[in-house]
Assembly symmetry: C2
Homo-oligomer: 249 residues x 2
């Protein structure tokens, strides 16, 4: 199977959008929200958007795309399973750190934890991410996992992976909305007059959504998938072929 | 192809979640936000969430699932194309009405239009919805549309349809977040103390997300698709069958 030009264009777009997301979220925290600080300062909060966008969106999205990159197709799938799991683990750790800083910030200022819709969706996202990683490890990396468990888990793993990315997009956009409303007017102009910070953070939201949709678009293209050569994949292909044959006759 | 029990369970779940979304959003507007009114009253705004959740989420999601319902498989696809397009049109009209009421409300109170991230994502969603409907009509319902345009449009139409649903979920959750922050404490207790309204609207947000994810889950299951019998579908099946054959040999 030859990698298509369409894939390379779309993949490059996803990489550019991912980098822009990281750049914009870091600039927002550092230029308009006062920069970063460790435990004990109100500036600790500013790590939260950076860690969440990096872990839940950009790293998670890139880890999901690992198998689609054509130069990996000539190498053993096991190697890229480890890369996929490793990137996901880093993404998960960043998101847990992102949760830690927001809980610590709330504790420091005596603010209520987990009251907003953003926090409800966000905590669900990280919980599902944890479960998905553990099940993925058990199913696809433990050599002793039974083949039937592995083949039943695969479509669920793919589907839940996409759901986590969608939940991450919802969490990030609602988080930016919440933050902009909470700090409304704190730097002089109200959000409704659309100051530079407002425009910038809104644009960050659009970048995050665009990145997520491009990644989901790549994942939805069946002919951009890694050509399967493992035993379990041949079984799936046999079933597919039989179903297409039955359709025609 | 026999419809599976798994489909019926998941489809029933989507119907229940859709109905709960409509119930919850109507209760939120009527019980906590003062009910509904037409042009000229601040209560006009309360139509906005109801119209958007009904049009962009519940009707859009159900229209997307029309071809998956097994009892429709014995009938002509053309009939169900008309039902699909009709439901989508009603959903689109409701979402345009939802935009109208919010613009009219802003005009009445001299508020700025389109400043928030929620409004940016929301307006993009409705614009893409309009484009998708027009292209769908031109490609799949106009008898004179060329077969090559139709077969190239189909995967794009499916992909953009899913993207519109994801954008709708993001718009709705960010809209609920924005509204809860804007009316924070207006009914006595602040949002951070999680009054009944806060819990109720947060739960509405989770229902909307769950509905969207269940619909996207159903759409992602290839073996729950309507068995294709039209000429254009046989062409696609032939290509699939050839590709599966090449995988195996």
């Amino acid at each position: 199977m030859r990698p298509s030009l369409g894939f390379y264009v779309t993949y490059t777009l996803s990489l550019c959008l991912g980098l822009l997301c990281l750049l914009f979220v870091s600039c927002w925290s550092s230029l308009w929200r006062g920069g970063f600080s460790w435990t004990g300062s109100p500036l600790e909060f500013n790590w939260h958007p950076v860690l969440m966008v990096s872990g839940l969106v950009v790293l998670h999205g890139n880890a999901a795309l690992v198998y689609r990159v054509p130069f990996t197709w000539r190498q053993r799938k096991q190697t890229w399973k480890l890369v996929h799991a490793g990137l996901m683990l880093v993404g998960f750790i960043l998101s847990v750190l992102g949760l830690y800083v927001v809980f610590d910030y709330h504790r420091g200022l005596n603010l209520t934890h987990l009251y907003s819709l953003h926090s409800w969706v966000g905590i669900c996202t990280v919980a599902v991410f944890a479960l998905q990683w553990i099940l993925g490890l058990a199913g696809f990396l433990f050599p002793c996992s039974p083949l039937c468990f592995r083949s039943n888990l695969k479509p669920v793993h793919v589907c839940v992976g996409k759901a986590i990315l969608i939940l991450s997009l919802i969490s990030c956009v609602s988080g930016i909305t919440e933050k902009l409303q909470l700090v409304n007017g704190s730097s002089g102009e109200p959000y409704s007059s659309l100051p530079v910070e407002g425009k910038f953070a809104n644009f960050l939201g659009l970048l995050i959504v665009s990145f997520g949709l491009v990644v989901l678009g790549i994942l939805s293209k069946d002919n951009w998938q890694r050509p399967e050569t493992d035993g379990e994949a041949i079984h799936v292909n046999k079933t597919l072929s039989r179903s297409a044959f039955l359709h025609l006759h």
